[in-house]
């Protein structure tokens, strides 16, 4: 029976949750679930996993824009039908993995993918730069300081050589978030691209009392920069600009406090974060470049700065060493020298835990 707009409750189904995870497993995955023995990367982007039974599954990983159309998905489906028995998966970093169980079909798949222009780059495995985890930007969100997809495209075009190769000391995870909400969870990435505002919100007094809950707005400010204020007859708020660090949290709570500004907004770059517990423990990303202007459509300065970091690391890092581990070994004084980036006041923490970041030792390098 079909949907009846006048009776929403009619045989309504709710709370069924997602399909069970194995509903769409290809047979080889179902059969060898939990029985994998080892894996190898045959070439960048191409993995083989071997089961105790000896069964093998080949995974071909391709980079995607993540912001993709139904047309694109249908094309991917055609490929999966042809080479993978009608199954595929996405990775946790928005790449697609074609799972090939018949070895004979592996090379044809690869050749086919390569034949289709720039739609299906193969790579993202091992000591490479895989897809950039990112967010909405100007495509769909209301708080961004920058676009997401465009910056990602520009940066990946430039770093393309590293996506399809294993020539780095270790994997490099790049993430982008278009505002301090950090939906990309960029805070633990080898390299993080972050959209930043630099002007305090301006207060639209006529609108505040109609569209915002003033107590919630006041509470939303991490630095207590916001106070309620009466403007003539209007209940409104007042912002102590000196205390504002442009997080935008008040704007999230109240549309009458816009802070976006084409000239003021831009990008901050962060480095040295990681998530894995391998060798070193997880680390936050730290500030590398406080501010780069917004430069659509291809953000050249951002692209160049990211490359500087990658190249200094590619040259100086040791095998297995993540960017953060490399920096910890050589020291920040050397990091700024080797990348040619400038160390400025903004690099010195002045928020809650600031004192824990100061140098309380005579140990440093001249």
């Amino acid at each position: 029976m079909a949907f009846d707009p006048n009776n929403l409750m009619k045989d309504r189904i709710t709370d069924i949750g997602p399909p069970k995870y194995d509903t769409y497993f290809p047979p080889i995955i179902k059969e060898n679930f939990g029985k994998w023995n080892y894996h190898e990367i045959l070439e960048p982007g191409v993995l083989v996993h071997v089961a105790d039974s000896g069964a093998e599954v080949y995974s071909v990983r391709i980079g995607t824009a993540r912001l993709i159309s139904t047309d694109y998905i249908k094309e991917v489906c055609d490929l999966a039908d042809k080479y993978c028995g009608g199954y595929l998966r996405w990775t946790t970093r928005n790449n697609i993995e074609f799972l090939v169980s018949e070895k004979a079909k592996l090379q044809p798949l690869i050749t086919d993918l390569r034949s289709r222009g720039n739609w299906f780059p193969i790579g993202g495995t091992g000591a490479s730069i895989t897809n950039i985890v990112h967010t909405q930007g100007w495509a769909h969100c209301h708080t961004p300081a920058i676009d997401a997809s465009g910056v990602v495209k520009a940066v990946m075009d430039d770093l393309y050589e590293y996506f399809g190769s294993h020539k780095l000391p270790a994997q490099v995870r790049i993430a982008l978030a278009c505002c301090l909400n950090m939906c990309g969870a960029v805070h633990c990435s080898d390299i993080a691209i972050l959209g930043v505002h630099r002007k305090p919100p301006f207060v639209e007094n006529e609108r505040v009392q109609n569209v915002c809950e003033i107590p919630l707005v006041v509470a939303a400010c991490p630095t207590a920069a916001i106070k309620p204020k009466k403007v003539g007859e209007m209940k409104s708020i007042e912002i102590n600009n000196n205390r504002c660090m442009f997080c935008g949290n008040c704007y999230t709570m109240c549309p009458a406090l816009p802070l976006a500004d084409g000239e003021g907004d831009g990008i901050a770059l962060w480095v040295g974060g990681k998530v894995s517990n391998v060798k070193s423990t997880p680390m936050f990303s730290k500030l590398a470049v406080p501010y780069i202007p917004n430069e659509p459509p291809r953000w050249p300065t951002t692209v160049k700065s990211v490359r500087k970091i990658v190249e200094a690391y590619a040259e100086g890092g040791r095998r297995y060493e993540r960017i953060g581990e490399w920096i910890n070994r050589i020291g920040w004084e050397r990091f700024f020298e080797k990348t040619g980036l400038a160390f400025q006041h903004e690099h010195i923490d002045d928020y809650r835990l600031a004192m824990t970041t100061w140098r309380t030792t005579t140990q440093f390098k001249f």
Binding site: W36, S69, D147, A185
Partner: protein, 424 residues
């Protein structure tokens, strides 16, 4: 053929080796997709202004659910009427994102009919993100989603958010837990929390099968479930020799496959963070000192494997910076067996939520509530005993809130007696 809005700036993004979302969306627009057409125009304007053109979303959703839809309106409906309303639908993905082409085609069909045809595969939390539709489409879309695709919406707002995991046992030899089943089970068990706001703020589960943490659980989930083991790393000495003899490619080829002579000392032994390995023709691991970082395992995957007494470490509190700075998750259960139906773990979750719903302020993440009220209060509330594994270091400030119950007379002084002993 010419599109409604010229997009000279966006067109620059059709160049280069990386897939271009612009080419993709233009293709859609060229087919006559009006929403895509106006979306391109709006984007072009954003590129010119260097400012986004979306407004706050009002409350939109489907009947009976408090989440799953993100309302979105553009601020120039005068110029781009077809994206005046452009809501997002979050569809709960199957854990770790395996699909048949059949179900994907169904989704495409549904979305072509009822939305913009634009998607994110996937959102950062894990959902299938369907970008851009109008309010009137929401109910029919939901009806078809549930009836024809057996799928449901994901989370948004102050709900449990769509949980996600690494691919775990489905294709990884290192997985110590069935991440997918855990995520599926939790998602089903807590459907109510997923669809109906009941928390101070969002709450996220993520499960990784081992300390590699391929779903970034420790950085991105209020409750991080990470597989581990507590017995001994399994060693195949023959395979070790094979690596040393350069018969096997180290690191599974992750660092390239060029023939090179593998140095077990500098590449494994010396890089072990605890220095608990020795090699003299035979590999010895002092497992009592091993912290399971998996470096040795990932470098010699054919020779070394995680132990057999497997379970998970539970950490809580990770979040992005808003409000008080970013946090990673912290260990609260060093080791717990994770076997279906995960009764012990779910009991823990219930206690966590009860405490957080009781104590948490509006828009305060679990990690922030713990920060404000102390890890000690949290542990008491969820009935966990303090363990040195929960901290990198004991406190170094002397500001100890001693428990009055352990002080003779508690907080009371006998002031009179004191002044007997001490003249003022």
């Amino acid at each position: 053929m010419a599109l409604k809005h010229p997009t000279p700036m966006l067109d620059e993004l059709e160049k280069g080796s990386w897939p271009s979302f612009v080419s993709d969306v233009k293709r859609m627009a060229a087919k006559g997709n009006r929403m895509c057409e106006d979306w391109l125009g709006l984007m072009e304007m954003s590129y010119r202004d260097k400012e986004g053109h979306w407004k706050h979303g009002g409350i939109v959703g489907v009947l009976g659910y408090g989440g799953g839809i993100i309302g979105r309106y553009c601020d120039r409906p005068d110029l781009f009427p077809n994206v005046a309303h452009f809501h997002t639908v979050r569809v709960n993905q199957p854990a770790s994102k395996y699909y048949s082409t059949k179900v994907l085609r169904q989704i495409c069909e549904l979305w072509d009919a009822r939305g913009s045809g634009l998607t994110n595969m996937h959102g950062s939390t894990g959902d299938i993100v369907l970008l851009g539709t109008t309010t009137d489409q929401l109910e029919p879309l939901f009806y078809e989603l549930t009836h024809e695709l057996n799928m449901d919406l994901g989370g948004s707002g102050s709900n449990m958010r769509t949980p996600e995991s690494c691919l775990g046992m489905s294709r990884c030899e290192w997985s110590c837990i069935n991440t997918q089943d855990i995520i599926y089970d939790l998602t089903q068990e807590f459907q109510d929390a997923l669809h109906r706001p009941m928390f101070p703020y969002k709450f996220k589960f993520k499960a990784s099968g081992c300390p590699m943490d391929c779903v970034a659980a420790i950085a991105r989930s209020d409750c991080s479930i990470i597989g581990t083991w507590r017995d001994e790393i399994r060693i195949d000495q023959e395979a070790v020799k094979a690596y040393v003899g350069n018969e096997l490619v180290p690191h599974g080829g992750a660092g390239g496959r060029e023939k090179r002579s593998f140095d077990i000392k500098s590449e494994v032994i010396d890089l072990c963070p605890t220095g608990c390995m020795e090699y003299d023709g035979k590999l010895k691991i002092y497992n009592e000192d091993c912290t399971r970082c998996m470096h040795c395992i990932r470098v010699m995957p054919r020779a070394l494997k995680p132990g057999l007494d497997k379970g998970a470490t539970i950490l809580v509190g990770a979040k992005a910076p808003i409000l008080d700075g970013a946090q990673m998750s912290s260990v609260v259960i060093p080791f717990i067996k994770m076997e279906s139906p995960y009764t012990e773990f779910k009991g823990f979750v219930e206690k966590v939520w009860d405490w957080w719903m009781e104590e948490g302020k509006n828009r305060e993440r679990l990690g922030e509530t713990i920060q404000r009220l102390s890890l000690r209060e949290f542990l008491k509330a969820v009935e966990l005993e303090p363990d040195p594994r929960m901290v990198n270091t004991p406190r170094f400030n002397p500001y100890i809130f001693y428990d009055p119950a352990q002080v003779p007379g508690g907080w009371e002084h006998d002031g009179a007696a004191f002044r007997q002993r001490h003249q003022a």
